[in-house]
Amino acid sequence: MDESLLEKREGTIDNDNETTTWVEYWLEGELVHRSAHVQLKRAVVSFGETAEF
């Protein structure tokens, strides 16, 4: 494959929940590759409580 024919598109999503990057390669108008990488910012947190008596 002549890699010079590939069109690269990439982007980033950054919000309170995640930072995501993605990359796409297009060949003659057809999507031939797409990868995505997600960095989660919000963890799962549970709070333990005890009662007083």
Binding site: N17, E18, E24, H33, L40, V44, F47, G48, T50
Partner: protein, 147 residues
């Protein structure tokens, strides 16, 4: 509630039920897995176990997802116990054409019981890789925390 108890919860140390033997009587860790779900799935905190319903499907993806590595034991800093997978969760060379936006972490050793649900912006993958990079394993950013 003591700080050590929170770590013990991650490690299934205590059994309060009087009806039988605790689930964990062996010295090996359970196997945890991560499955991906399409946007029409309804995973919430009420999800109790892994289900193949609305799980993604496509080339290179095995139903049930991938194994998650917990190479670092649960720990605590002051009042918060925390636990984070020690490696990214990665689905390599897959094609997932239907948009997905959720990952279920579950215990495949213990009847596929659910642990946690994580959501993100909907994605597709074409002959590529999808990865979830883990945050720093500490009391403020660890993936699973008991505060």
């Amino acid at each position: 509630m003591t700080n050590s108890f929170k770590v013990d919860l991650f490690n299934a140390v205590h059994a309060f039920n009087a009806t039988g033997i605790p689930a964990h009587t062996v010295s090996t860790a359970d196997t945890f897995k991560a499955a991906l779900y399409v946007t029409t799935a309804t995973l919430t905190t009420t999800t109790t176990a892994y289900s193949a319903t609305n799980e993604v499907s496509g080339t290179g993806y095995t139903a049930g997802g991938v194994t998650v590595t917990f190479g670092t034991a649960p720990s605590n800093t002051t009042t918060t116990a925390f636990l984070t997978p020690s490696a990214s969760i990665t689905y390599t060379t897959v094609t997932l054409s239907t948009s997905f936006d959720a990952m279920l972490l579950y215990n495949s050793t213990q009847s596929n019981k659910a642990v946690a649900v994580f959501t993100f912006t909907a994605q597709t993958v074409t002959a590529g890789t999808f990865s979830l990079t883990m945050p720093t394993n500490d009391a403020s950013t660890g993936l699973l925390r008991l505060a």
